[in-house]
């Protein structure tokens, strides 16, 4: 029955074990103390701790290390969402706001406007398609529109519109998964305050380009002349904008004869013809 010894013996043995292991952990935590950025501990605690791997890292502590080392954005925990992002931003001394929300942007609008070299019927994946004779498009820079970026995006921020990938700025958390999976490296991270973009990445000469894509940049330099702040320059047959100098005035978009400079503030202009 309930005798004293039947309670004391287990309590004593397990207590001794608890003490032994507690001491072992205590001594080893002192002996093997490795200087570690205290913020990693704090960030790990704010993360939900489910170690689900949704952020692409192998667990929350791993993500915390990446955030503290600056390799991962503050808001890369999908499960935590904005509330956790704010708390981590506070710990990191970086305001989630002033860092400026980064958003992915696809630097091409060819898609169905670009001529096809052959009819591709292989695996629905841009990487595999780009391996078959350089991809089905005549243009070796353009977006293949097979949706590898759409598939890899965990937030449904990308979709294919008439043959080319388009980013939904509201849903994008700039985790960079699409940028790394695109074989043509067309996706870049830009600040969401930037409205004017050159939606082409081809360095082909104008005559060559006119034949294979009717809304690509032919390097006519009209935009460079029209720009008041000298933000847009044509290098190697392709116009490119220096986002720091650009004031979103839209002069270049108006001047472009091919209408390929997108000005998000107005409605996106239609294709040239």
């Amino acid at each position: 029955m309930l005798s004293i010894s039947s309670v004391l013996i287990p309590a004593a043995t397990l207590g001794a074990m608890g003490l032994f292991f507690g001491a072992l952990l205590a001594v080893s935590s002192k002996l093997f103390h490795v200087a570690q950025d205290p913020r990693i501990g704090e960030v790990t605690d704010t993360l939900p701790g489910a170690n689900c791997g949704g952020c692409g890292y192998a667990g929350c502590a791993n993500l915390a290390e990446a955030i503290v080392a600056g390799k991962a954005p503050v808001s890369s925990c999908p499960v935590g969402g904005p509330p956790v992002a704010e708390k981590i931003a506070a710990i990191m001394g970086v305001e989630a706001g002033d860092v400026g929300r980064m958003v992915a942007h696809v630097n091409c609008r060819g898609g169905d406007n670009a001529k096809r070299k052959y009819q591709y019927q292989g695996m629905k994946d841009c990487l595999s398609a780009s391996k078959v004779a350089g991809g089905p498009l005549e243009c070796t820079y353009g977006c293949l529109g097979l949706g590898s970026c759409v598939k890899v995006c965990k937030y449904g921020a990308l979709h294919i519109e008439n043959g080319v990938a388009v980013v939904d700025a509201k849903k994008c958390v700039a985790c960079g998964a699409c940028a790394s999976v695109c074989p043509r490296h067309l996706i870049s991270m830009v600040s969401d305050k930037q409205d004017v973009f050159v939606s082409c990445s081809s360095h082909l000469r104008g005559t060559e380009l006119r034949r294979i894509c009717n809304i690509g940049c032919i390097g006519c330099m009209l935009c460079q002349k029209a720009c008041p702040s000298g933000a847009i320059t044509v290098t190697d047959n392709l116009a490119s904008i220096d986002y720091d100098k650009c004031t979103n005035c839209g002069a270049c978009a108006a001047a472009c004869p091919r209408k390929l400079i997108v000005n998000a503030s107005e409605s996106a202009p239609q294709a040239a013809q």
Binding site: F21, L25, S28, F32, C52, A58, K124, S128, V152
Partner: protein
């Protein structure tokens, strides 16, 4: 215990009663960490390392402390205390002495404490009343079975990225179905027996 008996324990733990596909132990990390092959291998190595040490530790604990004091009912609590502290201790030692190996295993070590397989091995060792060598061997081969399973699944999952399965099957459902098919394949080993 003759060689063939040891071999039968080893083969049983790796193929016939594989810890994932027929004993259902350690599924949470198995599905959680099998996105890429090298993370899966890292997890596998960490599991082999911890389960083997845990089997030895739990055998010694059970044989010299719990049984003499008739505290068999305390097995679960004692084993899990040992495993949790062992994992944390190993994590600290590795972080200090072998930072390179720690980076490789790193995050998987704390994940292992919540792994049913580790406690499963310890309890099965006691149930089959294996002696010391058999317990360590059973732990080691069970972990090798786990690693085999997780690497198999990881390599398949890497190719799954390119398959376009129906929308609602994306993510875990297709992984579960794949593991189901792997489990059917492993059932083929059921008939295997060694004399």
């Amino acid at each position: 215990m003759s060689g063939s008996e040891l071999f039968s324990i080893a083969l049983g733990a790796i193929l016939i009663n594989n810890f994932i596909f027929s004993r259902f132990l350690g599924i949470c990390p198995f599905l959680g960490v099998s996105k890429k092959v090298e993370t899966a291998t890292g997890m596998g190595m960490a599991v082999i390392f911890v389960i083997t040490v845990a089997s030895a530790a739990t055998y010694v604990l059970n044989e010299f402390i719990l049984v003499p004091l008739e505290l068999e009912y305390m097995q679960t609590v004692a084993f899990i205390l040992v495993i949790a502290s062992l994992v944390q201790f190993v994590e600290m030692v590795l972080m200090k002495l072998m930072p390179a190996l720690y980076q490789a295993l790193g995050i998987y070590l704390p994940l292992i404490t919540t792994n049913c397989a580790v406690l499963g091995v310890a309890l099965l060792n006691v149930q089959n009343d294996y002696n010391f060598v058999e317990s360590v061997l059973f732990g080691f081969t069970a972990a090798v079975g786990f690693t085999l399973a997780i690497i198999l699944l990881a390599s398949i999952r890497e190719r799954l990225e390119f398959a376009d399965e129906p929308e609602c099957f994306k993510g875990f459902p297709i992984v579960l179905i794949t593991s189901g098919l792997l489990a059917i394949a492993f059932m083929g080993f059921q008939g295997l027996s060694i004399f």
